[in-house]
């Protein structure tokens, strides 16, 4: 079980490609006068969040890797490192990503980490790099356990996770409208992911896919982009800062403030941590479901339309 298996750190290797692609997108927007918006401080915040994500990965990566290696000692299975194993691992890891991402939007403890990725009101390639610094604390590494126990080596699983993140980089753009129909049907695309970043009521909690959009279609969370309802990017209630430290930690601070306020039952404290974002013990806030219902109350003609089923 102690197979010495190593793969390149593809995320770090992709950094020059990320920079080149951002310059290309910027040039396109300047030249064509369309295809997205840039703002200096917003982009800098996103880039610093990306750098911080790499740094926290270097500092805390041993936690996840240690956990996965511990599981690797337990499993009697070893699927090896053949091309078929790599492909199968990539597909199953993408399924793992779908559920991590879905929990990231439906469980506040995980949302506290993921929220920063949605905190920009812009949608360009720098937004892709606005990544969490606190992912380790969500314990979502647990969802990698089945892959390891099935016999995929931890190095392979992390390699596939890196490839998954690299795939998702290029879909954070408005320069690409729609791709060929077969591609849009199977793969996550800029159009599908714009929906995911939309704060429009119809687009909330949709399109969690990493690489294959088929997971959303399979599990009922797919919403196509509508030309009549252009995605409005950002959070339901946007944050008022470009400070990376505040971006990284603000929802954790809010979560603990909520859960530790005096006069709550233990159930309410737990719900502040684990219920969907927007939960409040006194009903003073709105979850995404409540936001959709209120939107439909104001726009009854939209009942039954895309995103409101």
């Amino acid at each position: 079980m102690n197979t010495p298996l190593t793969y390149p750190d593809v995320t770090s290797l992709a950094v020059p490609v990320f920079i080149a692609a951002i310059l290309l997108e910027l040039g396109w927007i300047l030249f064509k006068k369309r295809g997205g918006r840039y703002e200096t401080r917003d982009a800098l915040t996103s880039l610093m969040m990306g750098a911080g994500n790499v740094a926290t990965g270097l500092l805390l990566g041993f936690v996840t890797y240690g956990f996965l290696m511990w599981l690797w000692q337990l499993t009697p299975l070893d699927l090896g490192s053949s091309l078929a194993a790599v492909v199968l691992c990539f597909v199953l890891d993408d399924l793992r990503y779908y559920w991590v991402h879905r929990l990231g939007h439906r469980v506040r403890w995980v949302w506290a980490s993921h929220i920063n990725h949605h905190s920009s009101q812009h949608y360009n390639l720098t937004t892709a790099l606005r990544q969490t610094w606190t992912g380790t604390f969500t314990l979502m590494m647990l969802l990698r356990a089945p892959l390891i126990l099935l016999g995929f080596h931890p190095a392979l699983v992390l390699f596939c996770g890196g490839l998954n993140l690299i795939y998702q980089f290029w879909i954070h753009t408005e320069t690409i409208q729609r791709l060929p129909r077969w591609f849009e049907a199977v793969m996550n695309t800029p159009s599908h992911h714009r929906v995911h970043h939309g704060r429009n009521p119809r687009y909330l909690d949709a399109n969690y896919a990493g690489v294959f959009i088929v997971w959303d279609k399979l599990f009922g969370t797919f919403v196509p982009e509508m030309d009549s309802d252009k995605p409005d990017y950002g959070l339901v209630h946007n944050i008022a800062t470009f400070n990376p430290l505040r971006v990284a930690f603000h929802e954790w601070v809010s979560l603990f403030k909520d859960a530790l306020q005096p006069g709550l039952t233990w159930r309410e404290r737990l719900l502040y941590c684990l219920a969907p974002p927007g939960y409040s013990h006194d009903g003073s806030r709105d979850t995404s479901d409540a936001i959709k219902q209120k939107y439909l109350a104001r726009h009854p003609d939209q009942k039954g339309t895309t995103g409101f089923r």
């Binding site: 300047l30 200096t40 800098l44 750098a51 008022a240 603000h250 601070v253």
Partner: protein, 130 residues
């Protein structure tokens, strides 16, 4: 990738892109132009609580709102965009150039709103008028 390559690449990449964006004019802050602009930006985040009174600053950076719910709201420019926040639990402090607002929100740094003397009087009057 070795750290001795990755680190300079990241630092120079961020600095270079930041400089390029600034020189290309992407640092120009949003200016709130009129009450309609403020109203639309507020309703974008709080569609069920329409502004009844709007006090827009001369520099177009912020507006104090009295809302249909009776609460106070602040709409302000943040980079090229806006943020819309309730001021229910904000602390108000008079400064030489206007008013300093401190919100009990980790994501919001204390805000120095630049106001003329007349604007400050109007803002304080709207704050105290329930």
């Amino acid at each position: 990738m070795p750290l001795e390559i990755l680190l300079p690449l990241v630092v120079l990449g961020i600095a270079g892109l930041g400089l390029a964006l600034h020189l290309l004019g992407f640092s120009t802050p949003l200016r709130l132009t009129c009450e309609a602009h403020v109203r639309a930006a507020w309703l974008r985040e709080h569609p069920e609580d329409a502004p009844q009174t709007i006090l827009l600053t001369q520099d177009g950076r912020a507006a104090l709102l009295r809302l249909a719910s009776g609460h106070l709201g602040l709409l302000r420019a943040l980079g090229a965009d806006t943020v819309a926040q309730y001021l229910g639990r904000a602390t108000w402090q008079i400064t030489a150039n206007g008013i300093k607002l401190t919100l009990p929100d980790f994501a919001t740094q204390p805000l120095n709103i630049r106001l003329t003397e007349a604007e400050r009087q109007d803002w304080l009057a709207l704050k105290d008028h329930l």
